[in-house]
Symmetry: D2
Subunit: 387 residues, 4 copies
C-alpha cells in the first residue's frame, strides 16, 4: 500500500508569536511521479475542498496510486481565522489587502524584484537543452525552478521576508515539484466549475465538471498560473527553437467545488470521485478514465464577465447559478424598500431588475444578499461553446 | 383607502458627517389604533423581514386596515453597512461591541443612569390611577412612557448622547406609541420561529409559525422586551392593587423569518401572510383569523439551550434546522483534516461527532461552516410542549 | 534566590485548531504568600504593561521577594491578534462583541447560570466560620472560591464551554489564589492613572500614580472587581455578624500605564518601579515603601464622566490628558471641512468647540483623531479630591 | 477676491442606498490657470492634510491667487468610515482589498480593459501635433485625456461600474484638468516627506520638506503617477520626434504630512505654508518663493527600502523617524516576554534587536507597536544624496 508522511509547515507567525502551520500529507504510491499537488481552502471561506481531501484520504487507503500525491487541506490558516461576527472574510489579507491567491512568484519572469537569479530564462534554458530528450528536460527544468525559488528566498534575507513572500515560498516549494497542481476553491454562490490551461480539453473532460473557463498563458499571480505558465513558457521557447513536440509538461487547475460557506462530507465523496477521475487521466491513479456524464460548456476567461450591480439593495436571484440565459433575461432583482418614494408604497418601486447584457450562462452570485452599488452582482460565461 | 406618510429619521452620523437615516412608513387606516410598530433588519445580516415589509406594502394597498401601522424596513443602516469582504457582520456594533438588539431603555425600571425621571414608577402610577377605566389607563401610561423617554433624552444633553442611546431613543420614540410591536429578525440557519411574551398563546397561534419560545417578564435589553415588559410591570402593579383584570395591554414579538443572508421576494409574500394573520388577531387588519396549518411546539427561553462546539473545524449538519432529536442523536459532525495524526489518514479521525445532550428540537446552526471551539454550534428547544 | 516556573496555558482554539496560549511565569520567593497575580495586555492594543513585566523580570533577578508572584504578560492573544490594517482593535471580541474585561465570573453572587454551587454564599460562610481566626478564614475562603470555580467549570461540561467562560476560567483559576491582583491596562490617550477599591487610599499612594478612580464594591465583570468584590462581600458578611475587624483580605487594582499603542522599554522600568513600591506595601517585596513624589487626585468612578462628541470630525486636543480644567474651558476642537457651507470657506465654520461641562481633570481622549458623533470624545474626573 | 464654488460629488453608494459624497471647493483666482488640484485623506487614517486644507481656506481669503485651485478635503469617506474598535483601517477597501491609492486609470497606456479609446496614444498625438506650439499642445492633450476618461466611463455602461472605477472616475475627472496635483497623505509614524517626479528638484525645494523620494516615470496606480506620467509619456514622445523642449507640462506630488492618526490645527498652518510656497513656485499664488530652511535629502524610490520584522512582538523604537543611521545601528527592539524560555526570565531574552542593513535615514515606523513577523517594521532611505 501507499506510504504516508505528514509534516506541519509554518506559514505565518502571529503578533503574539504563535505559529500558524499547515498540515501536509504526502502519499507515496508505486512511483514518486507523476506527482500531484492538491491544496484546499486558500481562501478562508471556501471550505468544500477539505471534504474532498478527506474523501481522498479514504479512497487512497483502498487504492494504491501509481504516482504520488501531496495533499494540503486548510492551506491558509491566516485566512480562515479572519472571523468577523458570524462569517469569515477570507479572500483578502486584512493586514495587507492582498488576495491570498494573487501573491505567488512568477518563476520564469520578473515577479517582485529585479534580481535575475530569481527566475529562469526559458530561452537560455531551451538553448542549453536544445538536443536533450524530454526525460532529461523535465527534471532539469524542475531543478532550475527550484534554484530560482531558492534565490528568491535568499534575496529576502537582508531586508526580511514579508507576509506575501513567506506564504508564496512555503506553497511553491511544494507545488513546483509537481506534475499536476490542483487548487481547490469554491465560487461565491455557484455550481461546480473549473479553470483550465487554455486548450487542455481532454484533461478538462476528466474532471466531469459542467462549466469550464480557459485561462490564457499569462501570469496573473494565481497558483494554477504559477504552476503551468512557466512550463508553457518553456514549451514556447522550445517551439521557437524548432521543437514544438515538447509541449507543456505540467498542468495547473483551479477547481471550484460549489459555494462559499458550504461544507458537506457527502458531497465531498462525489468531489473526490471527480478529482480521482482526473488523477487517472494523469496516470496518478490506476484504472480507466470515465467519460463526462453531462455536457460541458466552456469559454475563455476573457469572456467570463461580471455584472456590477447598478443599484444597492437586497438580492433576489431570478435564476439559479448554472442557468443559461438570453440577452435581456432578468437575472436578479435588487430590492430596497427605501426606494419607495411614491405613496402608497409598492414593492414595484423598490425593485430594480437586472438583465443579462449578453447570452450566456450565469455561474455565480455575490455571496451576500445585501449588496452595494458597484459590487460584483454575478459573473456569467459568454460566447459559450460545448467542450 | 389608507393614508400613508413617509419620514426619514437619522440614527447615526458617520465620522465624515454623513447621516444614516431610516425610512419610516406610516399607514393610517380607518382608526389610529390599534397601532402596530413593525421593524426589520436591526441585525445587518438578517434580511428577510424586508421582503415581508415589501409584501405588506402591496397587501395594504388592497386592504384598508382597521387600525394603523408604522413600518420600518432596514432599520439599522449602521449594522447593514458593516461589510467585511463578502459578508455583513451585523449583530455587534464594531465601534462599541454592543449587540444592536440589547441597548433599548427599560422605561419602568432603572436602565442606564440613576435619574428617576427616566422611568415610570408603576406602583405609583397604579396607585394614582387606581379607579380609572382601562380606556383611560392606557393613554395615560403611554403618556408616562413618553415623558420618561423625553427625560432620558434631556438627561443626555450635558455630556452628550452616545451611539447606543441615540439609536434607542430613535426607535423607542416610535415603538412606545404602539399597541403591538413586531421586530423582524432571522436565525443564523433556521426555520421560522417566534419569541412571545410568556403565555401569549392565542396570539402566538395567529402567526402560524411552528416553533415558539416564551420570554419571561424580565427586561434584557431587546425590543420585544422593551415593548411588553413595561406593560406587564403595570399589569402586575394593578394586580397588586386588586385589579388583575387590567392585564398586559401591549404585546411585543421577535419574529424570526428563516436564515441570515437569505432573501426571497416570493417567501416574503408568505411571511407577510403570517404577519397579516397576526394583525387580524390584534384587530389591525379586518377579517377572520386563520388557524395554524401545522402543529406548534413551544418551550421557555430558559429551556432553549445552545451547544458550544467541543472542537474546532468544519460543520457538517447531521440534521436540518427544525428537526426533533432524541438525547444522544448525532446532530453535527465537526471535521478537521488537521486532526489526522495516524497514518494513513482517514476521515474517521478527522471527525468529531456532536450529540444532543437532551431530547428536543434543533432550531438553528451557526451561520458559518467553519467554527472555533467554544462558539455556539447550534441552539435547540428542550422540554418542548405542543402549544 | 527566587525559584521560577513557566507554564503555557491555552485560552482559545482557533477555527483551524491552533491553540492560543499565554505564558505564565511563577516566581516563588521566600514564602508562597503574600501572592501577587499580575497580568498585562488583556485588551490587545494596551501594550505597556508588558514593558513593566519585562522590567519586573530584571528587578526580581536582583531582589528576592518575601512573597511570590504570578506574572502573565500578553494575557490575551485572541485580542492582540485582532489586526485590521495597521491597528489592533482589542477591546471587544470580534466574534462575540464581548469586552474582554467584562466577562469574569462573580464568585460570591449569581453570574451566569442559576446553579448555586457556582458561587459562595458569604452569609453562610461567615456563619460557619463565625469564631475562626483570620488565619483560618482566609485559606478557607480561598478554598470556597476554588470550589465555586470548579463547579462553574463542571456545569459547562454537558452543553460546552463558550469562549467567554473558557477565558474567565483560565484567568480566574490563577487570580483567585492571589492576595493582590494587578491588571495592567492603558487608557486610550492618557497619563498613568489607577482604579482602586473604594477607600484603599494607603495602597493607592504606594503606586505613585497621580490620578485615582475609586471603584465601589459592586461587581461589573472586570478583573479587579472579580478579585476584590468577593472578599469585600465576605468582609461585609462578617461585619453583619459582629466581626468588622476582618475587613477585605484581598485587593484588586486596574493600573493604567499611559496610552494605547505606546510601548517603551525605558518607561517600563519606571512603571516596574511604581509596581514594586506597591508590592513593598503589600509585603511581597522587601524594603520600605516610598511616599508619592507628586500630589494625587481622586474621585469616585461615578464622577468619572465621559463627553460624547456633539459633532463628527477630526479631533484637535485643546488640553493635554492629565490637565485640570474649569467648567466652560475648551477641551477639544472637532474640525470637518465639510461643514464649510458659507463661501469663501473658513476654518472657523469647520470647527465645533467642545467645552468642559464641569470642573475637573481631563484624563483620556479617544484613541483616534477622527470620530463619529456620539462616540466617547474624552473622559474626565469631576468632584476631584486630593488623596 | 477669489470666487468660490462648492459641489458635493458622490463616490460610493452604501448597501442601504445612502450616498457618500465628497466636498469639492473650487477657488477661482485671477485666472483659471495654472490650476492646482489638492486632495487630502484618501487613506482614511491619514488626517493631517485636512488641517492643511483648512489653513489654506483661511490663507486664500487673504490672498487672491493668480491661478485657481480645486481643494478636496476628506476625499475618501469610504475609507475614513472603516472603523474597527478604536481605530480606522484606511489603506485597503474592506470589500475588495484594493489600496485606495492604487486604482487610478493610466490614461496613456492600457489600464484595465483592452478598449483603445480608453487611453491616448502619445506617439500618434505627438505626430499629429508635431508642429504646434506648446500653448496649443497643452489644451489639446487635456482634451485628449478628457476623451479617454469619457471612453472609460462609457465602456462600463453595459456591465456596470465597479467600486474602483467609480472612485477613479470621480477623482480623475477633476485631477486631469489640473497643471499641478497634490495628494496629501501621511506616513505611518513619520516626519514630513515628499514624493516627486524624478528630477523635479526645484519644485521639490519649494515644499521646504527635508526628505524627498524620487518617483520614476512609470505608472503604478497612485494619483501622483496618474497625474504626471501621461504628461511625461507625451514629453518622451515629442522628444522622439525631435522636440525635447516640450518637457513635462504637468506635475504630481504625494505630500506626506507626518504620522497617521495625528491631527493638529496648529501644525496645519505650517503645512499650508509649505504648500503655499510650492503654489508660488507654480505661479498659482503671488509672491516670491522662499528657499528651504533646512537641508533636503533625497533618494530614488527604488532605494527607499523596508525592513520586514524578523520577529513578532512589541516595537520599541531605537531611533526617531527622520534619523540618519549607519549600517549595523540598532533601529528597533522587538520585545516579547513569551520568548523568555530560560529561567529566571530576563528582558534580554525577550528582545530581538533589529539593525540597519545599510546606511540611510529612517523615515517611518509601522503604525502600531505590536507587530507580526513579516510585517513592515520600518522604511528607510538609502543611497541618500543632498538635493
Amino acid at each position: 500500500m501507499a506510504r504516508w508522511e505528514r509534516r506541519d509547515i509554518p506559514v505565518r507567525t502571529l503578533a503574539t508569536g504563535h505559529e500558524l502551520t499547515i498540515p501536509v500529507f504526502h502519499c507515496h504510491g508505486k512511483n514518486e511521479r507523476p506527482l500531484a499537488y492538491i491544496q484546499a481552502n486558500v481562501h478562508g471561506a471556501e471550505l468544500q475542498g477539505n471534504a474532498a481531501v478527506l474523501a481522498l484520504f479514504d479512497l487512497l487507503s483502498e487504492t494504491e496510486p501509481l504516482g504520488s500525491l501531496v495533499l494540503v487541506p486548510r492551506v491558509n490558516p491566516v485566512s480562515e481565522n479572519q472571523v468577523f461576527g458570524d462569517y469569515v472574510a477570507g479572500v483578502y489579507d486584512f493586514q495587507t489587502g492582498m488576495n491570498f491567491n494573487r501573491g505567488y512568484l512568477y518563476l520564469t519572469g520578473p515577479s517582485r524584484g529585479s534580481n535575475e537569479a530569481c527566475y529562469v530564462d526559458v530561452s537560455a534554458f531551451a538553448a542549453s537543452h536544445a538536443a536533450r530528450p524530454v526525460a532529461e528536460i523535465k527534471p532539469a527544468f524542475h531543478e532550475a525552478l527550484r534554484a530560482a525559488l531558492t534565490a528568491a528566498r535568499e534575496e529576502a534575507v537582508t531586508w526580511g521576508t514579508d507576509f506575501r513572500l513567506e506564504f508564496a515560498l512555503a506553497i511553491q516549494q511544494m507545488a513546483i515539484e509537481a506534475d499536476l497542481v490542483l487548487d481547490l476553491h469554491t465560487g461565491d454562490r455557484a455550481p461546480r466549475y473549473l479553470y483550465i490551461p487554455e486548450g487542455a480539453h481532454d484533461a478538462a473532460r476528466a474532471f466531469q465538471i459542467p462549466f469550464v473557463l480557459e485561462v490564457p498563458h499569462k501570469f496573473g499571480g494565481a497558483l494554477d498560473e504559477a504552476a503551468f505558465v512557466p512550463w508553457q513558457d518553456l514549451a514556447n521557447a522550445f517551439t521557437r527553437t524548432g521543437r514544438p513536440e515538447i509541449g507543456r509538461l505540467v498542468d495547473g487547475f483551479t477547481v471550484e467545488l460549489g459555494s462559499m460557506n458550504a461544507f458537506s462530507l457527502a458531497e465531498g465523496i462525489l468531489d473526490a470521485g471527480r478529482i480521482a477521475n482526473a488523477l487517472r487521466f494523469y496516470g496518478i491513479l490506476p484504472g480507466p478514465v470515465a467519460p463526462p456524464e453531462t455536457s460541458i460548456f466552456s469559454c475563455n476567461v476573457g469572456d467570463y464577465r461580471s455584472i456590477y450591480t447598478p443599484a444597492s439593495g437586497l438580492v433576489d436571484q431570478a435564476v439559479k447559478p448554472g442557468t443559461a440565459v438570453r440577452k435581456g433575461d432578468v437575472v436578479a432583482r435588487i430590492a430596497d424598500p427605501s426606494r419607495c418614494k411614491t405613496l402608497p408604497p409598492s414593492s414595484r418601486e423598490a425593485i430594480v431588475e437586472v438583465t443579462a447584457p449578453e447570452d450566456g450562462i450565469v455561474i455565480l452570485f455575490h455571496a451576500f444578499s445585501s449588496i452595494s452599488r458597484g459590487a460584483r452582482l454575478l459573473s456569467m460565461m459568454t460566447h459559450v461553446k460545448p467542450l
